[in-house]
Amino acid sequence: MTPIYLDNNATTACDPAVVAAMLPFFTEHYGNASSIHSFGAQVGHALKEARGRVQRLLGAAHDSEIVFTSCGTESDSTAILSALKAYPERRAIITTVVEHPAILTLCDQLEKEGVVVHRLRVDRRGRIDLDEYQALLSERVAIVSAMWANNETGTLFPVEEMAEMAHQRGILFHTDAVQAVGKLPIDLKTTRIDMLSCSGHKLHAPKGIGVLYVRRNTRFRPLLRGGHQERGRRAGTENSAAIVGLGVACELAQQHLETESTTLKRLRDRLERGILARVGNAFVNGDTLYRLPNTASIAFEFVEGEGILLLLNQQGIAASSGSACTSGSLEPSHVMRAMGIPYTAAHGTIRFSLSRYNTEDEVERVIAALPPIIAQLRSLSPYWQGDAPAAGPGLSFEPAYA
């Protein structure tokens, strides 16, 4: 039984063409790009080519706007900390409650250090209120940071519009686009986005490589100082193999961009409809009209996500849960809570995230595998009776302590 990987928002398989392109940079092309000799020059040229490929995928005006980092988290931290350092008189940040922990945990820490953090709330579908946003834009704000696509539900924020609104008030705009790059067409030169984070391993490049796009003329302060690499904006010897791999991955992503919104979307929709037609008391989370083409977040009521994942895993199917049970926290995911999803459903949320490697057969296998798994776990659940939620006097389950 071949395994089925539907956890591509967590990480993706490195494309074989990416691996092939990287290998020489572990062996014969080991030079330091900064060196004068030919060992260095070979690598230097390869980095330039890769930078150009990233530039094209992002639609950046200049290749010098691409700064290579170690990961999406580093890009996020660099962007926010840079804005606070570059505008010391501005001590506030606007972000959203559903950001990735790379942003939220940093903001929590900055708040302790005296920075004012405004976190935009979302509605039941995961959408923000642009009026609330507009009202928060002021000369005290150093930077706005809003994710392009939500990692758990795939819901998109109107970042181009938000960037325009920030720009009109003279405020920097950053977007964590780790989940969006390679899945959606992006053309940064036609937007007012000042900074954008992306991560290699979400688009079939290796782990350990990230990008921060910094628009020309954006006031910038580096996180890491110590060398002239990346024009002094990110010191440290370049991870040349990974950068070359990312370049190839970006070119491949560009070639497949159209299939993301056609083939992949069709597979995702088939998966969603197939599951919902066979499993009752289940629903899709997020903004179904405005979301990534590859992500399906489905809440199965009255069961807990980890059990579903363990049973799926037994059948070789890899997905992830919206519950934070495995991370040591007892609360369900902050995204589900922010959307007001009831606890009985939030704990049973499963995220299926597809990639261009997934097939129709795989989707059919998952549709067939899931209903018995949910039925098995519901038969163990005190919230379930027979084939319906337990209800009525003496039947409904209200355990001690909350």
Partner: protein
């Protein structure tokens, strides 16, 4: 992702005694949907002998919650109520060959469901004193609520106070920032500065001058100190014995759960600190294995 024992996995995939129990005369419902764990334990008790004839469960929760419930029903079957009540959450975890620290609360929930079901059978009202927060110290499975309460009750001031009272932070030390945040939140101010390196506390200059001990007295003192430390280790299913004293080097054998435990180095460090205090001289405590290498 999951560091579950074979036994946990087996009980999750093939749960024993799952589903409603006909003729149940003791039912305990515990847990909370907010926390993502809830358990109904159903007992059929023989009123004559008070022997549990059958025990069934229904659980909403993660893999280890289901496995812990299944294990609980197997452990208490055919026990009398009084015997069953002696089952601790550690017994449930042991039966499953251990649970990851993040999941120990699953075994606690099992134990509470048992108390609730017995109380229900006896017509008593069971009161929960359960309080649980985010897991802070992963090495010793100590949560925020426990740390907060201990700081408040004992007016703790420093990071090392918290470690001494709760063990939290005594291992890998990755949680020290979180613990300091709790100290600030409870005490409303920064914890007083501690020496940057713990070793400074035990530097010989700081120790009072003690009369020189004879070899016999010295070894007796070492033995007495180890003896005093043993109950704490035994509580964690471990033990320590003295193997050899070679000048400043003291060799000990750790056994039981201490052996090969990720905390072995921390345990030996703790023993060393204690011995340095008691003997008033700098000594080095080494595992017996180091003696073999000499």
């Amino acid at each position: 992702m999951w560091d579950y024992s074979e036994k946990v996995r087996e009980h999750f995939f093939n749960p024993r005694n799952a589903g409603p129990l006909a003729g149940a005369n003791g039912v305990g419902d515990v847990g909370s949907i907010r926390c993502g764990d809830a358990l109904r334990l159903m007992l059929r008790v023989d009123p004559e002998t008070e022997i549990i004839e059958a025990a069934h469960f229904q659980t909403f929760g993660c893999g280890s919650a289901i496995a812990s419930s299944s294990a609980l029903t197997e452990i208490i079957k055919r026990k009398t109520l009084d015997e069953a009540l002696k089952v601790s959450n550690q017994d449930i975890a042991d039966y499953l060959d251990g649970l990851p620290p993040e999941k120990m609360h699953c075994s606690v929930m099992g134990r509470e469901a048992l108390q609730a079901a017995v109380a229900n059978y006896r017509g008593e009202v069971w009161r929960d004193e359960h309080e649980e927060g985010d897991l802070v110290c992963k090495c010793f499975a100590i949560d925020a609520a426990m740390i907060e309460r201990t700081i408040r009750d004992n007016r703790l001031q420093t990071m090392s106070d918290v470690t001494n009272y709760t063990k939290a932070g005594g291992g890998c030390s990755a949680c020290h920032e979180k613990i300091e945040d709790i100290l600030i939140a409870v005490n409303g101010r920064l914890p007083p500065a501690e020496p940057q390196r713990q070793i400074a506390k035990t530097a010989p200059a700081a120790a009072p001058v003690k009369p020189r001990l004879s070899n016999y007295q010295r070894i007796r003192k070492i033995e007495e100190t180890l003896e005093a430390l043993r109950p704490a280790l035994q509580r964690d299913h471990g033990d320590v014995t003295l193997v050899e004293v070679d000048g400043k080097r003291i060799f000990v054998a750790l056994s039981g759960a201490c052996q090969g435990c990720q905390m072995e180095a921390a345990t030996i460090g703790g023993i060393q600190q204690k011995l340095v205090e008691v003997l008033g001289e700098l000594v080095q405590v080494l595992p017996a294995a180091a003696l073999a290498r000499d």
